[in-house]
Amino acid sequence: MTTHTQTTDVETSAITLTGITKSYSAASPAALREVNLDILPGTSTAIVGPSGSGKSTILRIIAGLEDADGGQVRLSGRDVTALLPEQRGISMVFQRPLLFPHLTVLDNVAFADRAAGLSRGQARERAREHLELVQMGAFASRSPHSLSGGQQQRIAVARALAAKPSVLLLDEPFSALDPGLKDEMHAMIASIREAVNPTILFVTHDRDEASAMAERIVVLENGQLLQHDTVDNVFHRPASLAVARLLGGKNAFAGEVRNGVHHSAIGAVAISSTVESGPATLVFRQEAVSASARVPDNRTDASPPVTRDSDATACQSRGPRELHGVVTSAIQRGPRRELLVRVGDAEIRTEAAPGALLSAGDSVTVSLPCEALWTVPS
């Protein structure tokens, strides 16, 4: 198993964190422990993790709103660890829009230029461009309190962009919005990226949002960086069992790899022949495997059985592994139907194939595509 880390030249990174540690008090556990992170310019990166994992603390340390106990923050190669927030050239959008109530929408967006010393007229002229960027040009003269939550957050993003930041930090900016509005916001961020291509680092507890808005994901737990990788790798090739769990993976089977075959409670499953032999946990996402109704026969193993380890070949050459089992519970979640299938002594979480109206007690065949299978160190 390889460790998935990103290696970049420190000088070319938009953000570089080196050995960042942070404790809020001597009695409480460390909020961040030796966090190292490189963010490339023009990328969008999501930080995900459970509550209290240190997600927001990372953002606040990068922004300068919190001081790290140790380590270094560099922006485009420049050490900013000792600089005040206003000297770092960063903008941040918070969970609440925090529009200044004493200013109109236009003057809110013009705030950064006014603070930089531009005249009111010049600042407003530039602010109009940013309002158009978030499709809010018609609301320029309105008061913030007359806008909906989604509209206010659009203005907050426009206001942050108007400061021409080298990095845009977003701290759960859309978590208070309903799903429809969230989709609109994701589309807005995509259009902003096309237009001005800022480096974006955002915190979210929503895995779907992370994959919708970012091409890379940082996974944090208990102040430790567990993985920083592409969206696909983090979801389907987690660096550890903890990452798989945090990203919502529900299938994990402890066992052992011998000659490219993983042996566990669900039986022998061929995986990549490049995986080293030894103890390993087989993981695969429930969305990546499907169950369909099975024509009864006497075998519990539908695939050609792996009789000897020496028979194992690369997973790709064997085709999907098929296992027979019985549905023990079925839960409908919107258009998807989640199944818990008992296979031997183990239980696999999967989804019913489209149109398959499966329920508890049904005999099913679970198909494990080769691409969905991954092992992590036990």
């Binding site: 300068g64 960063i90 609440r96 200044f100 200013l103 006014r114 603070a115 008061s143 206001r159």
Partner: protein
């Protein structure tokens, strides 16, 4: 349908009944007191003689204009100092560092001190044989006339000190829970401390600053004990004059006392009215 419509009306009636015990005494004191004073000032309620509508009490009161200008001067200067000092004290308290916490505790303590005690303390501190003069080793004849002098320094100092603490606590009370977020937001938009103070903190504090200043002004204009203890005997502020005339042995002075009180009331109402109009125009208040 009828039940649905009558429910809010019943609720409104109940709410009105619930606040009546609070409203009735206030109405009796304010409307009754003001009404009596106005009626008395217009000669309609003389202690002796026949009631007759006249403005004699306003015309016959000696140096009413001078006293009004003096009262306004003391109130405007002390309120202005209290507003400026109070605002920056609030900024210091909101900053949350140890200095701010000490200032916050001192401000809270200052608010609890009665004006009469404050006036006596300022008198003991600033008089020509007072504590400050002794500490500095300055003889009484060389010490400036801070108490009962032509500048009304001690009176203004006492009002400014007490009211600045009041103004600071009012601002802190309204801003403490939200100012940190706005301050951080402004910092993340590149605003320096000075720009944040000018563009965020002051505009957000302005409504509570205005309200607190209006209250301080009304109090300063209407209270008599500080000016009576620490001020000159002549000219005298409106409040001191009203009390003197009210307690006068001459029964004909009673309408004059009422006239002085009415002038004080009108000045206060005018200033508070202007402050309320200003408040309504503030976007941060909306």
């Amino acid at each position: 349908m009828t039940a649905v419509q009558s429910r809010p009306r019943r609720h409104g009636m109940r709410a009105t009944l619930l606040v009546l015990p609070a409203i009735i005494p206030v109405a009796i004191v304010v409307i009754g007191g003001i009404g009596t004073t106005v009626v008395q000032s217009l000669g309609l309620m003389p202690l002796v003689g026949t009631p007759a509508l006249s403005v004699d009490a306003f015309e016959s009161t000696d140096n009413l204009l001078g006293s009004a200008l003096l009262s306004l001067g003391i109130a405007v200067v002390s309120t202005a100092i209290a507003a400026v000092v109070g605002f920056f004290t609030a900024v210091l308290i909101i900053s949350g560092n140890w200095g701010g916490r000490i200032v916050g505790a001192l401000s809270a303590a200052a608010v609890t001190v009665p004006h009469l005690v404050g006036a006596a303390s300022v008198g003991l501190l600033l008089s020509d044989s007072g504590v400050l003069a002794r500490i500095l080793g300055i003889p009484p004849e060389s010490w400036p006339a801070l108490v009962a002098g032509p500048t009304w320094f001690a009176v203004i100092a006492e009002y400014a000190w007490k009211e600045s603490a009041f103004v600071a606590l009012i601002i802190v009370g309204t801003l403490a829970t939200r100012i940190t977020s706005y301050d951080e937001t402004a910092a993340m938009l590149g605003a320096s401390r000075g720009a944040r103070l000018r563009l965020v903190l002051f505009p957000l504090a302005a409504p509570s600053l205005l309200v607190a200043s209006a209250i301080a002004f009304a109090y300063t204009l209407g209270s008599y004990e500080v000016a009576w203890l620490l001020g000159k005997t002549y000219p005298e502020p409106l409040s001191v004059m009203a009390l003197r005339l009210f307690n006068s042995a001459s029964l004909t002075a009673r309408p004059e006392a009422a006239a002085v009180a009415v002038i004080t009331l009108l000045l206060t109402a005018a200033i508070v009215g202007v402050a309320m109009l200003g408040l309504r125009r503030m976007r941060a208040w909306q």
